[in-house]
């Protein structure tokens, strides 16, 4: 096979970026995969199971993570951000800022001796939706890729005050390296770029206030719920309330939190009807007596097998779907949330007391999208997602730069994966022609 003279750059190591990188690498194109976080996998790695087949998320993702790590055509840059882009379609040059990990990637064996001896505790872990805390030297989750620890530079007492150094002594492989500095890496010969930096969820307390989030312990977001119910999460797969450790027997899933509203985002997040049903199903598998209530506006189950999935929820998992508008949430003396809602089918104001409320919070563009768009010279749309055109779905406003996944439109995993391959096709056209 002829060697392609140009390489590709993929920004973002979630499922979309991973699939794009793997397709290009399998086509025979060298790929630089840049991820801001310490490991790849994105949001999908945080999920417990996935709709509509209830496959365990990390189980189906893990082989892809390993493949990315070991593929001879993929170079992985974690803790890294694209800082500067020069050139044009067919020949870009890119500057990456790679943050210091303070652990040598080639030496670390992921044994965890450093974290066990680290005297700092209580550092919150983003991967577990901040529900778990850890040491100042950590790995986001046990099967993270790369399987390498890192030091939290804000919390490490050695980096701040030059005291401690226990981890350095404890590491048999001498993998700790406090002399590491952030470095700038320049990549030339980049034929084309894919932006797949995914999404965030609204965390702004304001739009969530009326639902009692952060005020009531038994009101959690859907992503927190994924971690709470996940085997690798803070409760090791035993769903318990955060207020009293009681196992919930009645859960309410509230849709369109911060979306489809004038008081938040106007758009629909696309995936919540499905994942809320999925979460109710998983919870039911943990406790067969469980009753679930999904409060929704329009049931959006257009994907393959999705409506069947909703029907299964109704028939086999004791899920009740209530078309409604939520007025507010109160709590009783035992911190049980009480939902006050306007039921559409009867036009009546009703109340329902539950043990736990799960909020399907709105998908928003990822942090730092403005500066990334600036660096790349691409336009964003009125919602701050990357601007694309319906019939050129992968093309950004700049020639040679493509996008896929939630960074340009909220979407589910199957569509993100298809879009990733689609963006890879566009890049392959440029590099193979070139």
């Amino acid at each position: 096979m002829e060697e392609n003279s140009k390489n590709a750059l993929v920004i973002g190591g979630g499922i979309a970026g991973i699939q794009a990188a793997l397709d290009l690498a399998d086509i025979g194109i060298k790929v630089h995969l840049v991820e801001k976080k310490p490991c790849i996998g994105g949001k999908m790695a945080q999920l417990d199971k996935t709709f509509p087949t209830l496959d365990c998320s990390i189980c189906i993702l893990a082989p892809k993570l390993s493949e990315c790590y070991r593929h001879r055509n993929i170079t992985l840059y974690t803790l890294s951000e694209v800082q500067k882009v020069n050139g044009s379609n067919g020949n870009f040059s890119v500057e990456i800022l790679k943050h210091a990990r303070y652990v040598k990637e080639e030496e670390c064996t992921n044994c965890g001796d450093c974290a066990r001896i680290c005297p700092v505790r209580g550092v919150s872990n983003y991967f577990d939706a901040d529900l778990m805390t850890q040491a100042a030297v950590y790995i986001p989750f046990p099967s993270a890729v790369p399987p390498v620890y890192l030091v939290d530079r804000e919390m490490c007492v050695y980096l701040k005050y030059k005291i401690c150094g226990l981890c350095y002594e404890a590491c048999e492989r001498k993998a700790m390296d406090f002399t590491q500095k952030d470095e700038i890496i320049t990549l030339d010969n980049i034929g084309s770029i894919i932006v797949a930096t995914g999404y965030n969820l609204i965390e702004d307390i304001d739009p969530l206030k009326k639902y009692g989030y952060k005020r009531y312990k038994n009101v959690v977001t859907a992503l927190e719920f994924e971690r709470l119910i996940s085997a690798s999460g803070p409760q090791e797969g035993h769903l318990k309330r955060l207020s009293d450790g009681k196992e919930p027997t009645k859960i309410a899933f509230l849709q369109c939190i911060g979306s489809r509203t004038d008081r938040g985002q106007k758009y629909c997040s696309s995936i919540c009807c499905m994942y809320s049903t999925k979460e109710a199903m998983i919870a039911h598998e943990h406790n067969n007596e469980l009753e679930s209530y999904v409060f929704y506006i329009d049931m959006r189950a257009g994907g393959k097998g999705f409506q069947q999935f909703i029907n299964r929820g109704k028939n086999e998992y004791n899920i009740k779907y209530i078309k409604s508008k939520i007025a507010e949430i109160k709590i009783d003396d035992e911190e049980n949330p009480i939902i006050i809602y306007d039921e559409v089918n009867t036009s009546e104001i009703k109340q329902l007391k539950v043990d736990l409320v799960v909020l399907a919070t709105c998908i928003i563009p990822p942090e730092g999208i403005d500066s990334l768009a600036n660096v790349l010279g691409i336009e964003l749309n009125e919602y701050n997602f990357i601007k694309t055109k319906p019939f050129y779905p992968m093309e950004t406003s700049k020639e040679g730069i493509f996008t896929c996944g939630c960074v340009h439109e909220p979407m589910d995993i199957p569509r993100s994966v298809a879009e990733a391959s689609s963006a890879a096709a566009k890049v392959a056209e440029i590099i193979k022609e070139g």
Partner: protein, 561 residues
């Protein structure tokens, strides 16, 4: 090292995976690993939270090297998704990949016996013991190398297939695009304008056609049908029939982009094709500027999301909104009412489109399937849930939004390609989430509404995606395929009675008789399913990696405790 493994003493390593709590939550994996270490030939045993993680794989490689292992067992989830990973892993450690044995203690043990932890543990012990017995008898096998013909066949000249062909052509692959009708375009030909920006469909179609004409790698056959397909990844022989002429093609990959059909509502809501029509018929009226009606009522989910057709067709809500807005723009005085169940406008632009439709004065009334709509000569009676009472809406045109359904001839094409259909007769992909564009059969891909109803945007996305997936094969001169196949060893030739049962049962058409009237098995076509070996009356056929000796060793180990 891998060549003379068989002569060395057997040293098996067992790795018991917790799979988070999927396995570890029910049974004691540490104890199981200890148990495994007591079994014959086991030289090393450990347990991991996730053996498939980079950490787990590193542990396997390390143990192979340090403990001098020559067989590896992982007891975990399922070989369906994870066997290739572990095979690669031991290959990197210097072993032949077929010296790996997978023991399924999740899908076939802890998941199915969730309520019986003690029995599940006992079963896991049995499974591991059986796996160890088989591992001791595993043999090194070679993968088969096949040449790849760098060309593709795209079946279906709609918006998906055209995009696949254009991209493959641009990537330098000779591509044949075949269409059963006499011109390209598929459903795009019948549409007037396209949501969400009301661009004329013909503009998009002309653009795609001109790209196809300009690309020298593309050959288009219209009025053509696939008559015959034989071969395997990288090497397919295809027979196309075009106006009674037969055209023979050789291609390396095949893409199915045959689209879908529109459900015909002939016995629903007094459909008559005149004052009660489908959305597609409405497009035709709009295209030719022949719409006279002023009071228009649209009904969503006609023939969809019911018992017979459970699914949501996903494109009909946007289609109804688009046509309603077009009518409103031409005739601001038109009364438009859309009767819906759940409005499907996911994402940013579609939701905005829906908002705009409401702002333009289009009336939306929710109905539920429990309160049936009553269509009369010039009125529709609907129970309005917001008001809690039945209302009567007059119409002079009733438009029915009907779902996309699978094509009638999907079944015959599926048989030609040896690929599966799902319950609604759409084509079935290899994995809903992570392999949405692949078939389970190597070298065959699918896109667009042939898989599931999708709009133009997603059809384009999937069309391009199929081009990328096919390119992962076509970009290579050769590829490796499965080595665990069936074969008729020379020493068994005299056992073969020539009964030909194996030829009949082989689902992959891998077995035939040669000129000397002897059974011949084409390794590259064989998927190692074992049907021939199981039916062979004289036990002449041997299935590599599943030999009689290997299977019997498992049975003896099961009984032996």
């Amino acid at each position: 090292m891998s060549e003379n493994v068989e002569e060395e003493p057997i040293r098996i390593g067992t790795f018991i995976c917790h799979c988070g709590s999927n396995i570890g939550g029910l049974i004691d994996c540490e104890k199981l690993a200890e148990y495994a270490s007591t079994l014959p030939n086991v030289a090393y045993s450990e347990h991991n939270l996730y053996t498939c993680s980079e950490t787990g794989l590193a542990a396997i490689r390390k143990a192979v090297e340090e403990q001098n292992l020559n067989r590896v067992i992982v007891a975990s989830c399922t070989p369906r998704t994870h066997e290739p990973l572990f095979r690669d892993c031991i290959q990197e450690a210097g072993l032949n990949p077929y010296l790996f044995n997978f023991v399924n203690i999740r899908d076939q043990c802890t998941w199915v016996h969730m309520k019986y932890p003690e029995e599940a543990y006992e079963k896991a012990k049995d499974l591991v013991r059986m796996g160890v017995a088989k591992a001791a008898r595993l043999e090194s096998l070679d993968k088969i190398i096949v040449n790849v013909n760098p060309s593709a066949l795209v079946i279906g000249g709609g918006v998906s297939g055209m995009n696949t062909a254009i991209s493959l052509g641009k990537q330098g692959f000779k591509t044949y695009l075949i269409e059963k009708e006499d011109e390209l375009g598929g459903r795009l030909k019948n549409l007037y304008k396209l949501f969400p920006y009301d661009q004329e469909a013909s503009l998009l179609l002309d653009e795609l056609k001109s790209k196809i004409e300009k690309n020298q790698n593309l050959t288009v056959y219209t009025s053509s049908k696939v008559k015959f397909i034989e071969g395997f990844i990288g090497n397919y022989e295809v027979e196309i029939e075009q106006n009674d002429n037969i055209i023979n093609l050789n291609v390396g990959a095949i893409i199915v982009a045959v689209g879908a059909s529109l459900f015909n509502p002939f016995d629903l809501f007094r459909y008559d094709g005149k004052t009660r029509i489908t959305q597609l018929e409405l497009e035709e009226l709009l295209k030719n500027n022949k719409l006279k009606a002023n009071n228009i009522v649209m009904i969503q989910c006609v023939g969809a999301r019911n018992e017979e057709r459970v699914y949501c067709s996903s494109v009909c809500c946007m289609t109804a909104l688009k046509n309603a807005l077009i009518i409103k723009e031409k005739n601001p005085n038109a009364q438009l009412t859309i009767l819906f169940r759940d409005l499907y406008t996911p994402g940013t632009i579609y939701e905005e489109y829906y908002r705009n439709a409401r702002e333009q004065g289009i009336l939306f009334i929710k109905y539920s399937p429990e309160q049936e709509l009553l269509v009369e000569e010039d009125t529709v009676k609907v129970f309005n849930e917001y008001l809690g009472e039945e209302i009567t809406i007059p119409y002079d045109l009733l438009v029915l939004s009907t779902p996309l359904v699978a094509n009638d001839d999907n079944k015959s094409l599926a048989q030609l390609l040896k690929v599966p259909l799902e319950e609604n007769k759409f084509f079935l992909e290899a994995h809903v989430k992570l392999r949405p564009i692949d078939f389970a059969t190597d070298g065959v891909y699918l896109c667009g509404s042939a898989k599931w109803p999708v709009d133009i945007t997603e059809s384009i996305t999937q069309g391009l995606a199929a081009a990328s997936r096919a390119s992962t094969i076509l970009s290579h001169e050769t590829i490796e395929v499965e080595g665990a196949t069936s074969f008729l060893p020379e020493y068994n030739r005299n056992l073969c009675s020539g009964c030909e049962v194996c030829i009949t049962v082989c689902p992959f058409k891998a077995i035939s008789k040669n000129e000397a009237d002897e059974i011949e098995i084409r390794q590259v076509l064989c998927k190692g399913c074992g049907v021939c070996g199981a039916t062979c009356t004289n036990q002449a056929i041997v299935i590599r990696h599943f030999t009689d000796e290997q299977i019997l060793s498992e049975i003896y180990a099961f009984g032996g405790k």
